[in-house]
């Protein structure tokens, strides 16, 4: 019988051998009670809604629906209070960040000591986060910082119109306005206008800077070495 203080647990893993391992582990813990398990990704959300377990132990790599999507779906439901602990082979911080961002509370790798899984389930039941070693919260933050740092600022090139980009390309290749006009079937006046706008948006001061930019960007191939 299920006692009120029992922590109900639902398992989702596509490997029987893993399911078996976890359930025998849980059986050894008097405060944990297994209410069901599945190997199919499509069954996870309906079972959780139906059985309302305190904690869902989820493998990220179930065939079918991606694990992070299952987390997102369940987390967004107001009537579902099930906490999620990710149990996976993936041992990279990016998976941890992603899963926690989607709404999981715990992250445990499968080849770690099983005690971590039990601890994570108990922590999740209390509404607390749990990270199994070797992950640390500092590492998590530094990864987020790394992501932020890698993000480059907006670039004028993205603000150019199609015509302005074309003009930039031909200017860099050394064509005159007149030649560009005939290549693009435009009037020389129109080419002059696009060129003016392009130079202004890019704050290019002269043609040499256009060529330099185009080379740097790989817009034009460079036959000579830099």
């Amino acid at each position: 019988m299920i006692r009120r203080q029992h922590i109900t647990v639902y398992l989702a893993d596509d490997h029987q051998i893993v399911l078996k391992g976890i359930s025998s582990l849980i059986d050894l813990e008097p405060d944990l009670h297994l209410v069901g398990c599945t190997t199919h990704s499509a069954e996870v959300a309906p079972a959780v809604i139906r059985l309302r377990p305190r904690v869902l132990v989820l493998d990220l790599g179930l065939p079918g629906i991606p694990g992070n999507e299952i987390i997102r779906t369940l987390h967004s439901m107001r009537t579902v209070h099930t906490k999620i602990v990710v149990f996976t082979m993936h041992k990279d911080i990016s998976y941890v960040v992603q899963a926690l961002d989607e709404g999981a509370l715990g992250y445990v790798i499968k080849d770690a000591d099983s005690a971590h899984l039990i601890e994570a389930i108990r922590a999740a039941a209390r509404g607390e986060k749990y990270l199994c070693p070797p992950f640390t919260w500092e590492e998590l933050e530094s990864y987020r910082e790394q992501l932020r740092r890698s993000k480059g600022g907006a670039d004028f090139y993205e603000h150019l119109t199609r015509r302005e980009r074309e003009v930039l390309l031909y200017v860099a290749q050394g064509f005159t306005n007149k030649e560009i006009a005939s290549i693009l079937s435009l009037s020389v006046r129109t080419v002059e206008k696009h060129r003016y706008n392009m130079m202004k948006k890019a704050s290019f001061k002269n043609k040499a800077e256009v060529v330099h930019f185009a080379l740097q960007r790989g817009l034009i191939p460079s036959s000579s070495e830099e």
Partner: protein, 645 residues
């Protein structure tokens, strides 16, 4: 005043003869005189009126008339007064006539006066000799005149001499100008590089220096006086004579003709002749301008020979050689086309050949051609449809040049269909290779991760269970040993799986995969990667692009670790709406990319290029020994090619 009417009329006739000889300025005077004579005829019957008329004539005639007796002027008409610049008749009357003759001419004038006085009185005025001399005005200014003296019937005072004179200063000036201009003209003719010959009735009357030189004679006299026919080939004489006849009858310049001339030394040479008819002293003459074109003709023949050789060469080329004007009209086509595309030479010459070129390719070719400057050349490839409608790839090298006054394209076109097919086959092969390689890696990575990995986890659970159930310390130690080994094995399997293909590339995308890779790379090589990206966290790239970028970065970083000898590298990725840009830079040792690629020293570099080219992108490597390496790649975003799932 004993001039009779007959004498006046006679004088008039004389003046008219003088005019016909070309002395035009007199014509006005003659007209005036004629008018007067007619009036005089009408009043002949009335002597009083006649006298009055003669007085009028004396006053009005534009010829200076004066009478002097014993050298003293006793009478002078108004024209005389004016011409001598006197204010009135009175100023001159009583003066010595000879003072108004220029000192240079005085002696002769005196002699003539003496002669007049010595000879019997003249009755025939038609023989009055007009002579040119110089008079002086009252101020002593000399001027040219034409003057004549007539002895009149003697009177008590002496024998009066009637002097007639006319101011011819202007005529003299014009005459001098004419002489000068003729001298200039003669000089010009003598300087002309073309021979100038004038002949009259085929008799040569003038040759310039160039003509003398051209005929290789020493003096003009060796040519003057001889007939034109002497210098012609017998077979061309009739032709030249016909032309002379035409000239004389039509009296206008004829088109340029070519004929040979025979020099006095027997040599013949080719000339170009321009002929103009003109009047020479009242007779018809012909002016010839003769140019030696032997050298020109030789050059032309040489050029024709050369062109024939080039044509032959062009016909032997296994390519199309063409000359086409701006409007697409074919001006020349070599003969080798017979074997090409199923069209005959006649067909292709008369057809609108623009129609057999793929429209898109043609527009591109025309655009390129129009932007060419004269003398520049361009290369492009286009598709030609053969008679059955099948497309053939043709490589064209063309240059823009001027032919006479037209802008034309001269080009050589080579069928490269086989090459294109080979390239296509090669590309497909590469595509299949890369695809199956990636697929295989993914399968093995999955297998290791999902199957082997999970089995290992199962074993871990089993060992953990065993550890809880057994008591003897020895058995527990053995189990814990096995668990450590199992953990190592699991880690190895994980690494192996990731090195085949990181699962996160498929699960989480390129950005986390790259960050993971940079971290792992730094841990293994000690090289820190500075990474900048724009748009990678906003856009989920197509899997084919993600895997290509990942592999290129992986390969490039591996090369840096192996060769560059640096502790830092930089990777930049920018995703815009239509393209993906990748840059990998190190400041390391660098190398000569052309050499390395040519010698197949690096299959890795080649592989990067091929992968990028499969996505219609372009990858370039910029490097120099000791100056670091930059790898640039751009890949258009909307490529239909997707070689990974």
């Amino acid at each position: 005043m004993s001039l009779t009417l007959e004498q006046l009329q006679d004088r008039l006739a004389k003046l008219e003869t003088s005019r016909n000889a070309g002395n035009d300025p007199l014509s006005q005077e003659i007209a005036a005189l004629q008018g007067l004579v007619e009036q005089f005829n009408n009043i002949e019957s009335d002597h009083f009126k006649q006298a009055a008329f003669l007085q009028q004539l004396f006053d009005l005639i534009p010829i200076g008339i004066a009478i002097h007796i014993n050298g003293i002027i006793t009478m002078i008409n108004p024209t005389g007064v004016r011409v001598l610049r006197a204010r009135s008749e009175e100023e001159l009357l009583g003066k010595k006539a000879i003072d108004f003759v220029h000192p240079d001419f005085r002696e002769r004038a005196m002699m003539r006066i003496q002669q007049l006085l010595d000879e019997p009185a003249q009755t025939d005025f038609s023989t009055v000799p007009f002579v040119e001399e110089k008079f002086l005005t009252v101020d002593g200014e000399p001027f040219d005149v034409e003057a004549a003296g007539i002895r009149m019937a003697p009177t008590e005072e002496g024998t009066p001499i009637l002097v007639l004179w006319r101011d011819i200063t202007e005529q003299k000036r014009q005459h001098r100008a004419l002489e000068e201009s003729e001298a200039r003209f003669r000089q010009l003719v003598s300087l002309l590089p073309d021979g100038v010959v004038i002949h009259k009735d085929q008799k040569i009357i003038f040759v310039n220096e160039a003509a003398v030189k051209m005929m290789k004679v020493d003096e003009p006299e060796q040519l003057i006086g001889r007939t034109v026919g002497e210098f012609l080939l017998p077979e061309e004489r009739t032709f030249v004579e016909q032309r002379i006849q035409q000239l004389l009858t039509r009296w206008e310049a004829l088109p340029i003709s070519k004929n040979h001339l025979v020099r006095p030394n027997g040599e013949t040479f080719l000339v170009e002749v321009r002929a103009f008819p003109f009047m020479e002293r009242g007779e018809k003459a012909i002016l010839l301008v003769v140019r030696d074109i032997t050298e020109q003709e030789r050059m032309r023949e040489e050029l024709e020979k050369r062109e024939a050789r080039f044509r032959l060469l062009a016909d032997l080329l296994p390519a199309v050689v063409y000359l086409v004007d701006e409007h697409g009209e074919v001006l020349y086509l070599n003969q080798s086309l017979d074997d090409w595309w199923g069209y005959s030479l006649d067909e292709i010459k008369t057809m609108d050949y623009f129609k057999i070129i793929d429209r898109e390719d043609l527009l591109h070719a025309l655009k390129v051609f129009r932007s060419l400057k004269l003398g520049e050349s361009a290369y492009y490839e286009l598709r030609v449809l053969d008679k059955s409608g099948a497309a053939h790839w043709v490589a064209v090298r063309t240059t823009k040049t001027m032919l006479e006054d037209r802008i034309v394209g001269l080009g050589v076109a080579l069928d490269i269909t086989w090459r294109k097919e080979m390239e296509q086959a090669l590309k497909q092969l590469t595509h299949r290779l890369v695809t199956s390689l990636e697929e295989e890696r993914r399968r093995i990575a999955n297998e290791l991760h999902d199957e082997v990995g999970q089995q290992l986890v199962g074993m871990k659970f089993a060992l953990e269970r065993a550890l809880r159930q057994v008591q003897p310390t020895a058995a527990r130690d053995a189990i814990q040993d096995a668990m450590h080994q199992l953990a190592d094995l699991t880690e190895q399997v994980r690494e192996l799986s990731l090195s085949f293909r990181p699962a996160m590339l498929d699960n989480l995308g390129l950005l986390p995969t790259l960050l993971w890779h940079f971290k792992r790379y730094a841990a293994r090589t000690g090289i820190h990667v500075r990474f900048q990206q724009k748009g990678l966290d906003e856009v989920r790239l197509p899997q084919s692009h993600a895997i290509t970028i990942y592999r290129v970065v992986q390969e490039a970083l591996t090369n840096i670790a192996r060769h560059a000898d640096v502790d830092e590298a930089a990777v930049e990725i920018r995703v815009s709406s239509d393209r993906l840009f990748l840059k990998i830079v190190d400041n390391g040792r660098g190398f000569a990319p052309d050499e390395v690629l040519r010698n197949y020293q690096s299959t890795g570099l080649k592989g990067m290029m091929e992968r990028v080219e499969l996505l219609s992108g372009e990858l370039t490597i910029h490097s120099q020994p000791q100056k670091g390496t930059t790898i640039l790649a751009t890949i258009p975003l909307s490529s239909p090619s997707d070689f990974s799932q």
